[in-house]
Symmetry: D2
Amino acid sequence: MALTIGVDVGGTKVAAGVVDDRGNILEKVRRPTPSTNPKETADTIAEVVDLLKGKFEDVTAVGLGCAGFVDETRSVVMFAPNLAWRDEPIKAIVENLVGLPVVVENDANATAWGEARYGAGRGHDFMVLVALGTGIGGGLVIDGELYRGRFGVGAEYGHVRVVPDGRRCGCGNRGCWEQYASGNALVYEARELARVSPALAGRLLELGGGRPEGINGPQVTEAAREGDAAALECFRTIAHWTGQGLADLTAVLDPGCFVIGGGLSDAGDLLLEPVRQAFANALTGRGHRPLPEIRIAELGSAAGIVGAADLARS
Amino acid sequence: MALTIGVDVGGTKVAAGVVDDRGNILEKVRRPTPSTNPKETADTIAEVVDLLKGKFEDVTAVGLGCAGFVDETRSVVMFAPNLAWRDEPIKAIVENLVGLPVVVENDANATAWGEARYGAGRGHDFMVLVALGTGIGGGLVIDGELYRGRFGVGAEYGHVRVVPDGRRCGCGNRGCWEQYASGNALVYEARELARVSPALAGRLLELGGGRPEGINGPQVTEAAREGDAAALECFRTIAHWTGQGLADLTAVLDPGCFVIGGGLSDAGDLLLEPVRQAFANALTGRGHRPLPEIRIAELGSAAGIVGAADLARS
Amino acid sequence: MALTIGVDVGGTKVAAGVVDDRGNILEKVRRPTPSTNPKETADTIAEVVDLLKGKFEDVTAVGLGCAGFVDETRSVVMFAPNLAWRDEPIKAIVENLVGLPVVVENDANATAWGEARYGAGRGHDFMVLVALGTGIGGGLVIDGELYRGRFGVGAEYGHVRVVPDGRRCGCGNRGCWEQYASGNALVYEARELARVSPALAGRLLELGGGRPEGINGPQVTEAAREGDAAALECFRTIAHWTGQGLADLTAVLDPGCFVIGGGLSDAGDLLLEPVRQAFANALTGRGHRPLPEIRIAELGSAAGIVGAADLARS
Amino acid sequence: MALTIGVDVGGTKVAAGVVDDRGNILEKVRRPTPSTNPKETADTIAEVVDLLKGKFEDVTAVGLGCAGFVDETRSVVMFAPNLAWRDEPIKAIVENLVGLPVVVENDANATAWGEARYGAGRGHDFMVLVALGTGIGGGLVIDGELYRGRFGVGAEYGHVRVVPDGRRCGCGNRGCWEQYASGNALVYEARELARVSPALAGRLLELGGGRPEGINGPQVTEAAREGDAAALECFRTIAHWTGQGLADLTAVLDPGCFVIGGGLSDAGDLLLEPVRQAFANALTGRGHRPLPEIRIAELGSAAGIVGAADLARS
């Protein structure tokens, strides 16, 4: 049985797994990312690969999912702010260190591929992944193939501008979608609400230890599950922006299925129902076109490993 | 030599041509669209096809580019407000009338294909067409193939929302891109300027016969060519929104080339230079990624005929 | 009985009347404004004054309500775009021509004073007039006195910015309130609706002779009275912006009464009810403060004459 | 010599002083506000008044400047969220406790009066105070008199809406001016910048102890004084919104002078110059009207005490 290793290389951790040809992870390992030093990050990748390779003889290839712009040859990470990589020939470096063929992919693309093959996107040839976490990770499957764009940097949905002169974004622009529809945006809403309306946001403040900046995403979800009005209002706001953005992507891409992943997707129906509603209200041509499905991701944080490993196989 | 016929079926006219395998139009014919009656429109299509077929023996197939939503089997026009078609099985109807195989495509898609094969998009495998006319017509070529989406209705870029609670759009929503970046948007700007600042817009009013609503697009272009400050301001405004929208599409699609067509593209560099500038300012990740080209379309209104004919060939 | 003459000097007509000390107009006269020539406009004012003065012996003074910026000494019109006046010493000129003391006032201020003394503002010492016509005319009565500001140009509410980067205004800025809440704004909404959704706006188009630009304000009011959904939607939109603006003025001025005048006020409750609703929703501190009344003006176009005449008396 | 006592009753402290008829504070005292209990706050006021009165025989009256809505009789605080007062007859209560006549005024009104009489507004009969602190405190002097509005709650400039659907405000609305132009807004900008662009905001983060939420207003001013680009950008943003708002107030009020106070005014020319520039760009009718002066407040936090004491004298 051919096995491959998938590695999810993020700004805070390197997570790797051995994956079989049905998308099962046989063994997993995880290290913190030594992010300030590009070379050390490559060494860490090699270390986890070696460790896994030592336990399974049949490993034939390695897939890396990296948080950054990956060039169209899937060899070079052009820009990865959280990994301190600029034009890093990471494929060659890691192949040299581990002695196996390596494929490099953007981490959200790897996640999209994992969900498309083995998760919520199964059976859909036209799938859009939207991972709502710190920002928005995006991936796109067209005709059953991962879409990479001309230069390898497509599907960066989070930086579509949705509000002229809107909120600042880390990318240097203003009004990017991920400032309105992401896990961070949910926390932003909750903290802003707690700051200006502490009475209304009493439960959120309580969970946050009394300070607006103490509130985190899982707490907002928890409060919303309890029926807290303030938390539910935060969810409605995020869902409104999410649904509008999915409608915009539908105008461009006309997919058969959206898969919503990322930490925010843990909220499940709390998020999904108002997103569907907002989407239906915002879609152009509604009533005259078939609608895509909107689903919650199924593989959680494993999707990136599974997807990277599967890309290495083909 | 295999010839095919391309027919551009718009709300006001049916234009058809015999096209060879190098994209040349050998003969053309044109009729007004009898738009209030779906059946008559089909008859008109059959009439122009018969007329052309009578002159060229080698015609093997017919491609229709229709202003509307075309289903994923390329057989049925699901919704065409300007043609009074709803779920019209136009492929079967026309095949029955003319005795040749028929392919149906959205008109902007046909235009995109024409430009991709024989016009400004030649040599680009990842091309986005943006036709700035009454609204925005969109087309997309991926890996050298026309992209149709899961249900046949992708690349409707004009209905991406760019301003929350913005200008009304004919689609029923508000803030759609085509309300800010199209030939109509240019006229809107010019008329609004003439309405509120008649002194500044003196030349535009003069060309428009003294009334704001008399101003049309070619007049704005004419005044801008003369260096009229008001007309140039209108162009800058449209170019700003166009460039921003192309940046948004780049975040999603990462194409190698944009082709700008439609009536507004007749303005050439008057439009192109400020669009490029606005695009460069708005693109996320600028400085860390290769840039797509932005070009003016080359085939003009013939692109739809050439594209539809070529799609019928393959 | 002391009589005075009030003259309403607008961009299209000069309307004058003899007014008694209870605000009754005893006789009226009207001439078109020869607006392109400042001197002729003064002559026209003198002509109507002479004509009225010839019929009533007891006329003791003249009040002019002029569409423009009037200086703090009430002598000079600093800027009146529609009358072609710049720093015109109109008090001295007219006194010289007619041999009576003259007081000059901004036309909306004169209207406010008329309504405050003899119209809908009677009994209110803190009154705001908002005249919704071509633009927004504003007036303010504080402690029973007409408020003029430090330099004579206060109460220009129409040019408060309500939308960043919003609609162009004739003043050169963008997003001014009068572009969203005025008679012209109503027509703008109706024409825009007719342009993009002709089916929905069928009745409006019918009244407008089939063309969006044929639609005028009284037609929108007529259609709204008939219950036409499109016209009612236009009214709701205007009322929303009007109510929000009144809430903003309340934050600044805390008046006891708003009087809504101008051509749009002819719509009566069609306008008043949704304005009150929007105001109540938008007011800061609602529930913790007394609310001002919101009334429709009572004197119609006569308010300017009555107000100017009354100002001349005191 | 007649002396009066002014008391500034804020959410965190009660500050009082004995003031002579030239606006000099002869002695000062200060206590924390026992804000959770309305009665205790009145007792604290009485305590500081008794203490000061014991030292100066000639004290004839007491003026209270309270953070809240004060009714038009200057007797009752209708609503003071930070003092836990609702319809509190504070004049009667304090008169009873201290045996002197008491005048109650809104705190920003008292500050405005202090600046108008003895500070930066001297010599101006039409003055607007804008105190940029936690929010925006507003005051208005018309014809040399403090303006109170019909119900005592005018000059709440901070809650004019400047952005439709903008930032949340503690008042329950969205888009209020004080969310964009205040000391808090400066901190908000700086923290947001540090959050999304830590590299650019390095100096601000350093001052803030490494965390965005550690950054405070004086630190932003300090960094701006050093020439830090990020801090200067934050000031420009705040100044832009401040200048726009002053232009809006000028359209309504046409004052002779603006006085900018509050904690943010400590920044002096760093704030003043870009505010003047933004104001000049935004004013309607610029070029055709006299301009108001824009000055920085002179009395600092003493203005409220001085103003309240002076109001008690008259």
